[in-house]
Amino acid sequence: MMLLPNSDCSLAESSPNSFSNLDTTVMDRIWPRRQNGNVVRLRRRKNAAALIYRNLSKITTALLATGYLWMALIPIPPLSQGVYIDENALQPAQVNTNWNWQDVHQADLYLHHLEGFRDKNATSEQRASFIRDEFAKLGLSAATQNYTFMTPSSNVSGINAYAILNSPRTSGSEAIVISASWLSEVGKEPYNLRGIATVIALAGFLKNYSLWAKDIIFVIGDNYLDGIHAWLNAYHGTIPQNLNTDLLELTSGVIWNALNIDYSGHSFSHLGVFFEGLNGRLPNQDLINSLRLISHYSAGVPLVLYDHLELHDAPQNSLLTSAPEFMKRSPQLREFEHRARNVKRHVSYQARGRPSAPHGLFHHFRIDAITLYAVPADGPHGFFALGRIIESTLRTSNNLLERLHASFFFYILTTPATFMKIGTFLPSAVLVAVAMIFSGLGQWVEAGWVQESPSELHPQGKEDDSKAANATITTVTTLQPTWRPRRRPVIPVITTICVTHCIGLLAFAMIDTSYFLQNQVVASWILLLALGLVPQALLTIIPSQPPETAPFSLLLQSFNLCLASTVISITSLLNFSLAATLAVTLGIPLICSRLFSRPSQTSTSHFSKPCQLAVYAAYWILTWGWLLLPQEVEKAVWNWEVLGVWFAPFVCIVYAPLVMQAGLVGLSQS
């Protein structure tokens, strides 16, 4: 309909017809109903398309509203379902654990030594060689690894200690890792001393059993994330350019699973699980589900997500505190709020691509890993419970005959016991993307046609009449508005899009320099202002289009919406949280960008120049405003430089240019 809005006849499929040259009356006599059927079908199709086009804005609005509402409803319990173990081989919590008070005593002794190192501010080398020697005293082959990451801001260096338990009777071609970092970033206590003590004590305990089917590797990483990252890269022989380290002295086989221990507090009441990995990768859900069962049945410790205590356990700083009393009391609302907090935390890790704890670095190497976080409390649990849980989890991992593959890799855990399948959350972001692409395609069609009122038609009427005369049936076009095709010059639009993405690339190159990071406050403001002015300058370069062609802003918005929609749909498969964030930040601003644009001189302007500039400023802040969050920027750049997290380049090269294009749409004349 849109392409041939006013034609009298059109191509249509019909049954084999070799008599098309025959007289119409004969044809009608032979296939009267058939012919009518084709016409009816064509007309129905055109009407349906016309209906969609007429109601495009309603459909778009409905899709947007559904998408956003769905996103908002993600935490409601009916959308989640109970977790279950999918891999039969795991058999979680089915073993008798042997970890005992004697081993707890060993852990206490190690802790005493480590506290000494903390108190006298020992260097990395002293710590690492102490840990290596402790491993060697247990009869394990142990070594240390020096590493230095060169980043624009500063160099990050440290020393890791690690040991390999060559399990009896095995070929050593598979391995499980138990790791702990020197620092902890979750709780108040900065040093993960108890975590390290647990790992060393476990090494001494686990070597007394011959039932391990895989080698067990113990890794104590320096700092928080970079130690483990350097160790993993050296282990897999994939040392990046900016990492200065040697290949490891000791190696074992392919690592399938890893457990990272974070126990920085004095005692713990709940065991928290962190699972988000590098660039939004998640471990197989079976690992988390096994841990939940094991922690409940082997040690009686409730499992929670992150450090969020259970709903009934603690009066956490709730959004509902300022709400009226009846809302505070509502169990449904409290449940919703509890789940919403978990989802929010999940999205904040996954969208940024940041590993939520050191385990996330393993995901990069196709290793399913989680962090066990001992949520600090006055009691009642300690080394005894943690040791049992780890021992039993290791036995479960030890049972695996193949990599974890049966359970889910794409999920949102709303509580430890409930999760959402991909089908229950993915459509929310995809609906927004669909709304955007509908709107973009609508704009593209709109750009291709110009409506002419009957009065304007008359001067050209002669030509149209002669065309119409060729058709067998004369149409009464003069009473209806007619549509005239117009040119859609795409070269300036594509150039503009390319230039904005190049500006994004340049901005990223500037942010990723040592100069920027050292003078961050000043440099951010300069960059922010420059990036605000560049598009203004860009607009002046664009040659003005002849009036009979499609307006630049319309075409730009069409391209911009289609591009953004594609980005959101693709990202939604890889990293839902990022896609959802994009859908929220891009959806309405991009669709509405042309509402504020200045209409052409001929018609009456309903937006004044200052108002338009204010709108542009809003887009500008949405595009580059994050430059004024120095800590976020610094962290994102560090994550990119050291860990290879794609978030910083993605924001600069994909997200910001898309919003910048929308800003340009508003700024340019239509």
Binding site: D8, C9, S10, L11, A12, E13, S14, S15, P16, N17, S20, T24, Q35, N38, V39, L42, R43, A89, D133, A136, K137, L138, G139, S141, N166, P168, R169, T170, S171, G172, S173, E174, G204, K207, N208, Y209, S210, H236, G237, T238, L247, T251, G253, V254, F365, R366, L401, E402, R403, H405, A406, T472, I473, T475
Partner: protein
């Protein structure tokens, strides 16, 4: 009664008539070597040798086969050897990773993880060598209850310089001999292999040294392996059955003491001696460090070895204890490597399409070491030879590698791909580490080639380091720099390679999804192709 006596006499007479002129002299020796190590482990190596005096392997060209009568030599094995006229046979079934650095060279050198079978056979006769090799491995698979049948042409190669013929040829004419060698790294030795192994012994496990081979204990050790070695010597055919195990008394003791005795290690003592054994000895290699008690007194001893005789001293329970040591402390820093050469082999990269094979050779000695290096890889991986790098301390040293032979995987007549072999001679300078790396790509298997069981990955067989004869007669200019070689073959650990694997646990989802897609695409294209397009007039 009279009938019975008559039958017995007849049998005896027949026996005498049959055996006296033709039956070769058969002798049976048994030997056990025990080596307590500084890290508390105890290496034990059992060797049961049967010599079939005056016998020689069957010439494959001889059609008729003479009758086989043995008293000590196992008939089941003898029949197999004769049927396939095998001159030399070596079979080993091992579990664990031999740690050369702490345990030194093993008494029986075949310690590669999994199953390894190699045989030298004289060529000629009606059956080809490959046919006999197939028959041999199937017969041995039946005899030892091991999956040796899967050592097919995808795993078989003939690296003659690494596994040379050590037997005396049948006759003096120049009969060509052929080697067939195959390894199956994923094979795991188990009780079902030990039982048929013990059946080959004249006293089974009821008497003599084999009394100690209690499967409960042997298969709980850090490393254990069985070996069958047949060679033909000047004196006759020699069958040597070996069992090795590395015990960890500290682990059994809950991480406390390293004291051990036969009773604690094997849960048995030698209470009966084997009456048919012509000799039976136990060698205990005494450690350098002092402070231990040994009981009972040896029958003979020198500085390094104590010798015990389980024939004269029964029951025998050798006990070694450190009375002044409350808990055993591992030596710190860890003791220096026990072998002149340490090897580490890894497969780098975590992708399913490519990786890097990396081998590092560390020379712990003060003179250069020259070794042969043999890599036999199934066609699952393809080595890219142009990416091969050899360096010492970061400096490329291609001059240290010589005599390189590489056979890429061959497509065989039955559609299988044979293994690729890479063999080269490396000279490792004194007190330094040579690193060799080759890029490799991993194949994408057809879905029928995936095994039906759980997919843990594919094992790559161990690489083999073998002694090479050193050229000292001026053939090479740097021959004097070549130093020494290693005394015995060494094996590297196996590797696990991850290939792209479809998730076979959900075939129906995959089938349904792909069929739907196919139908949609086919349906719409077919629809468009078979339709006729006409002009339809529309009246508005």
């Amino acid at each position: 009664m009279a009938k019975k006596t008559l039958a017995l006499t007849l049998a005896m007479t027949l026996y005498v008539v049959q055996t006296t002129p033709t039956t070769p002299q058969e002798r049976y020796h048994e030997d056990l070597t025990i080596r307590p190590l500084t890290d508390g482990k105890v290496v034990t190596a059992f060797t049961f040798t049967t010599l079939l005096g005056g016998a020689s392997p069957r010439d494959p060209r001889d059609a008729e086969s003479s009758a086989q009568h043995y008293t000590l030599f196992p008939l089941t094995l003898g029949q197999i050897l004769r049927e396939y006229s095998v001159t030399e046979l070596h079979l080993s079934l091992n579990a664990g990773k031999w740690n050369y650095n702490s345990w030194g060279f093993p008494d029986h050198p075949s310690v590669g993880t999994g199953a390894e079978l190699w045989a030298w056979m004289a060529d000629g006769g009606p059956l080809s060598v490959d046919n006999r090799w197939m028959g041999l491995r199937n017969a041995l698979a039946g005899l030892f209850c091991a999956s040796l049948g899967s050592l097919d042409d995808r795993r078989t190669s003939s690296p003659a310089s690494a596994f040379p013929l050590s037997s005396v040829p049948i006759s003096h004419d120049s009969t060509p001999y052929a080697l067939r060698h195959a390894t199956l790294p994923s094979e795991h030795v188990c009780t079902e292999n030990l039982t048929p192994f013990l059946k080959l012994l004249p006293c089974k496990s009821r008497a003599g040294l084999a009394r100690l081979l209690d499967p409960q204990r042997v298969f709980d050790t850090d490393w254990h392996g069985l070996g069958v070695h047949v060679r033909s010597t000047e004196a006759g055919i020699e069958l040597s059955l070996g069992a090795q195990a590395v015990f960890d008394p500290v682990r059994r003791n809950g991480g406390k003491r390293r004291d051990w005795s036969f009773q604690s290690l094997f849960d048995r003592q030698i209470d009966v001696s084997c009456p048919v054994a012509s000799s039976s000895t136990i060698h205990l290699v005494v450690p350098d460090i002092r402070g231990y008690n040994l009981s009972p007194e040896p029958v003979a001893s020198n500085d390094t070895v104590n010798i015990y005789s389980p024939t004269s001293h029964v029951p025998l329970d050798i006990t070694m204890s450190w009375p002044e040591e409350y808990t055993f402390k591992y030596p710190l820093p860890p003791p220096a490597p026990q072998t002149p050469l340490s090897v580490k082999r890894t497969l780098y990269g975590s992708s399913q399409t490519r990786g890097v094979l990396f081998v590092s050779f560390s020379n712990n000695d003060h003179s250069p070491i020259t070794v042969g290096y043999l890599e036999t890889l199934p066609a699952l991986v393809t080595l890219w030879m142009h990416t091969m790098k050899v360096d010492v301390g970061g400096i490329a040293r291609d001059d240290l590698m010589s005599d390189m032979i590489y056979h890429p995987p061959l497509l065989l007549a039955n559609g299988h791909h044979g293994p690729s072999t890479l063999q080269t001679t490396l000279t490792i300078p004194a007190k330094s580490t040579l690193r060799l790396s080759v890029d490799l790509s991993k194949t994408f298997l057809k879905y029928t080639e995936h095994p039906p069981d759980a997919m843990r990955g594919w094992d790559l067989p161990p690489a083999v380091l073998f002694p090479v004869p050193l050229l000292l007669d001026g053939e090479r200019a740097n021959a004097s720099l070549a130093g020494q070689s290693i005394p015995k073959r060494m094996y590297t650990p196996t590797l696990l390679v991850d290939l792209a694997t479809p998730d076979f646990s959900m075939p129906y989802n995959v089938i349904i999804l792909s069929c739907t897609l196919m139908t949609l695409i086919f349906g719409s294209i077919f629809n468009l192709l078979t339709r006729k397009w006409t002009i339809v007039k529309m009246v508005d």
